[in-house]
Symmetry: C2
Subunit: 249 residues, 2 copies
Amino acid sequence: MGTMQLETVPEPKYWHLKTVLSEALDSEFSVGEILPNERELAARFGVARATLRQALEQLELEGRLQRRRGVGTTVAPPRVGVDVGSESGPHAWPGAPGDAWQPEDHESAPAPAAVARLLGTGRDEVHAVRRSRTTGGQQVASEVLYVPATLVPPVAEGDGAQHGSARARAVLRELHRLELGGQERTVELGSARADDARRLDRLPGAPVLVVTTRYFADGRTAAVSVATYRADTCRLSFGDADAVSLMAS
Amino acid sequence: MGTMQLETVPEPKYWHLKTVLSEALDSEFSVGEILPNERELAARFGVARATLRQALEQLELEGRLQRRRGVGTTVAPPRVGVDVGSESGPHAWPGAPGDAWQPEDHESAPAPAAVARLLGTGRDEVHAVRRSRTTGGQQVASEVLYVPATLVPPVAEGDGAQHGSARARAVLRELHRLELGGQERTVELGSARADDARRLDRLPGAPVLVVTTRYFADGRTAAVSVATYRADTCRLSFGDADAVSLMAS
DNA sequence: TAGTGGTCTAGACCACGTG
DNA sequence: ACGTGGTCTAGACCACTAT
């Protein structure tokens, strides 16, 4: 048989399309520029809109594109590096000076079962402090910090009109009275629940990087935080402060 | 107008489907169990197959399901925690004792432009060491370590038949002669290129967690590694060794 | 060869942001 | 009101795996 197969692995259309678009983005478009709409792009490449969308979805996942309903598809800026680790060497409690997070509210919703298990408490016996993190005016992450009520007694409920943000700060203050023994972080891929999606200005199900941190004190887990970062726009950075400052010289 | 709107936000079908399926997975299925095929599931829920697939894709992204062409859809085991190194503990060169990675090959492909920029060398003036990482018999990550050729001179090329794995080890040995000044890690979401996808037993475009590490020595970047972890099965862990051992007591 | 998930099509309608 | 991306349908065919 003279039918040289030549590794004829038929590449999916959307995959090839993604490559073509990606190269076009590098050479012919600049950040913030708006692309032709999906119907026109599909026609131009001679594919169905669904196929074109498969390629766009991948590019958005990789942080190359940004799509907004009612507006259009734009070329995304490079991902921003957000520092997650090494709050300058030694670990520190959330809310310590230099912390990039801003306390927002004190919530009453019960903790997820997985968090309660880590803390060794009931799902309702916790403080839940909501915090947010912004970079360049854009919110990039949303966090809930869970602290057992046994460690930090109920805060100034009697103050009446004290609003959520103040109660949140009070819990953090109480937390700082403990000595931090260490911490452990995990990072995994998740999809935004409805409430986080709204906060991060994304649709439900948008890909997020979930950073879970356990804070240790007195030989037990004293707090657990679950932070949700926009996966499309963020690059999490676990910097070694010493090394970085060394490089600056 | 008496038309109480009642927050009538019509939840997308696939989103509701995902919730229903997720609960069913918790209560009615066990790990490794095989689900009915997509056509039957779609019929059972009264939706088009594409809609059902949208829900399954999300669940796979979250590590709840595993789908294999020609086989079926199975319930995935919980994500495995893979240790990626402690933020605060002593840093170590790749290939140091206790390293979870296995050297595989010495590659000749040029480094990506972004890596060459970090190293401050030309794209061809580097060693590229391919390594792999397995957990429980399953490959979970694939890595390429780039080292400037100026730091580690060309290795035993004259040895002729010396195979890639040995050359890879030789480069690592040379690297260990330098004193490690520090390191910096970043984590971001990516999609698997064709070669990585094959190695990780996934389809091209599968979601991966990309861990980029810069190793510093002599006040410069002495090496850069780009590791690609399966995002569906992995939970990256940045453990604080001290704290964890403290908890064991 | 049979059955699975993966790709692709050509439509339709909806929700949202902007003018 | 209009144009955008988001959702959904009902099909078809393909690539892969197991038998």
